[in-house]
Amino acid sequence: MALFPETMPRPEPDMDDAPFWEACAGKQLRFQSCAVCGMLRHPPAPICGGCHSTEVMWAPAPAKAEVFSFTVIHHASHAAVADNLPYVVGLVTFPGLPGVKLVTNITDIPPSDIRIGMPLTLWWDDIGDGMHLPRFRPA
């Protein structure tokens, strides 16, 4: 069963980020980088902020991540999360992928035990209709 109910907002892929979501659908987490200078960027963008090339590559993310920051959310700003309170939104980074931060959820741990710097491991949440979202639990 997915972490959140079906009424939760879903990703809405656009021309610039569709390859990211196609990879997620296939349970692959990968980030965009410039094919010319190699600079990583997230979210996907149509041009490199370093060398201005529009050629891109996709770098696979390791399954290990680290907590950069997090918040324990107690107030339902959207009706879909009313039965999930409290839940944890994390901002995570990956070894070897400088310049990339991913907003995600941290699960399977009491919120009061979460610490910045804590190692995490990726799991894929099936949200239906062929889409999966990357979420994390303690390593």
């Binding site: 959140f4 939760m8 907002p9 879903r10 990703p11 809405e12 892929p13 656009d14 980020d17 979501w21 960027r41 997230h42 979210p43 902020g49 950069f68 920051s69 997090f70 918040t71 324990v72 959310i73 107690h74 107030h75 700003s77 959207h78 879909a80 999360v81 999930n84 409290p86 839940y87 939104v89 901002l91 310049g99 990339v100 931060k101 991913l102 907003v103 995600t104 959820n105 919120p111 910045i116 949200i127 979202l133 979420r135």
Partner: protein, 391 residues
């Protein structure tokens, strides 16, 4: 700038009544915004027809040319808005006005904002669409308290900042609001016990760490030093204004949160603050009173560091020593109650309070104050700030 005949001055302020969200039901947001602009012109002693520039920010829906027609303004010479960024552009709207006035492209510019959350959207609730929304909404990151909580959490991890320091901000501003009959929380006191007993919204932010959701409109009228001399009000000089963003912020915390590591837990004002003070020929020590954008208490602490009132990580001690209180503090903050306790007019109410301090008419007047810093929304992009001076 003071010697120039075109040096920009604020000569008029106008505002609607401020209420909790949903409190203004009998008049449209557009109407109360138009009324605030008319009030600013009256306050200055100028006819509305003298206005030839309109500026705003944050996709204000009270569109300039529509406002021009509604108010019968014969000629619009400057019509501009600062991009997005929540309240980041509040002082930026003033900097746009300054650009027009100093360059001679307009003579009398009004910077305004109308924001009735009871008629539009409550900002504490999920927005239907956001830039980079696909990367946050599916994880339940919906609204600014949650988004900025991530920054404040990181800030409190890096530095010795505690819940007590956040509380000091909320309690000081409430005490100021309790002196201000126009404040939404004017008659509601707040104790430390009530603060600590309040519910979490998004840790580390409690209810009282978050700004109000209100209905209101506010406007400031800006013109040249030359014209200001002949007007009724004590003129308030805009000593310097600035808006912009550091590298790599994009939509910052309101988007995917991919700000650079070294500026992530910041207000995105470090360069801007240095340039602002340099332009005015002042230092933080010269500031007598400040109105710092208080969408969330923790961001105010961050701003004290980024604007140079204390060193990195020292804002907790700075506020614990009583420095931001109206009663005896060396840098009283948000003397109208701010957006935590007066109203959330996206920061334009803070500009108005800055003007009141320079005129000597605040309900929490800082005796002898002659320089005031006002900031726009913090930790977003773009950000903005102005320095006001009493002539």
């Amino acid at each position: 700038m003071g010697s120039s005949a075109r040096a920009p001055h604020i000569v008029g302020i106008g505002q609607s009544a401020y209420t909790r969200w949903g409190g203004i039901q009998d008049r449209s947001q557009f109407r109360i915004t138009a009324e605030a602009i008319v009030a600013a012109a009256r306050d200055a002693g100028l006819p509305v027809s003298a206005i030839d520039g309109l500026t705003s920010f944050s996709n204000d829906s009270n569109e300039g040319p529509v406002m021009q027609a509604a108010l019968g303004i014969p000629e619009l010479r400057w019509s501009a808005m600062v991009w997005g960024g929540g309240g980041g552009g509040s002082c930026g709207a003033v900097s746009l006005a300054c650009a027009a006035i100093e360059s001679g492209q307009a003579e009398v510019v009004v910077a305004y904002r109308g924001l009735c959350q009871g008629q539009g959207r409550r900002y504490g609730r999920a927005a239907p669409t956001r830039t980079h929304g696909s990367f946050i909404a599916p994880y339940g990151l919906f609204a600014p308290p949650q988004m900025l909580a991530l920054m404040v959490q990181r800030f409190m991890h890096l530095y010795p900042i505690t819940q007590d320091h956040l509380a000091e901000v909320a309690l000081s501003f409430r005490a100021n609001a309790n002196r201000n009959p126009l404040a939404v929380m004017g008659d509601r006191t707040l104790t430390k016990e009530q603060y600590l007993a309040s519910r979490w919204i998004a840790e580390p932010l409690r209810l009282y760490d978050c700004c109000l959701e209100t209905d209101g409109a506010a406007a400031v009228l800006i013109t040249t030093a030359e014209r200001a001399r002949d007007l009724v009000q004590q003129r308030v000089e805009i000593l310097a204004s600035a808006h912009g963003s550091g590298a790599g912020w994009s939509t910052g915390p309101l988007g995917s949160q991919n700000m650079p590591d070294d500026t992530y837990a910041s207000t995105n004002n470090r360069r801007l603050a240095k340039e602002l003070f340099a332009r005015a020929g002042l230092t933080p020590d010269d500031v007598d009173v400040a109105q710092i954008y208080d969408h969330f208490s923790g961001m105010v602490l961050m701003a004290l560091e980024d604007f140079g009132f204390c060193g990195p990580g020292e804002s907790g001690d700075f506020v614990a020593e009583g420095n931001i209180r109206h009663d005896g503090g060396k840098l009283p903050l948000n003397t109208s109650g701010g957006q935590l306790s007066e109203a959330y007019v996206h920061g334009v109410n803070l500009i108005i309070e800055g003007v009141r301090q320079m005129r000597g008419t605040s309900t929490a007047q800082v005796t002898g104050a002659s320089t005031c810093l006002v900031t726009g929304g913090l930790g977003v992009a773009p950000t903005s700030a102005i320095l006001l001076g009493r002539n």
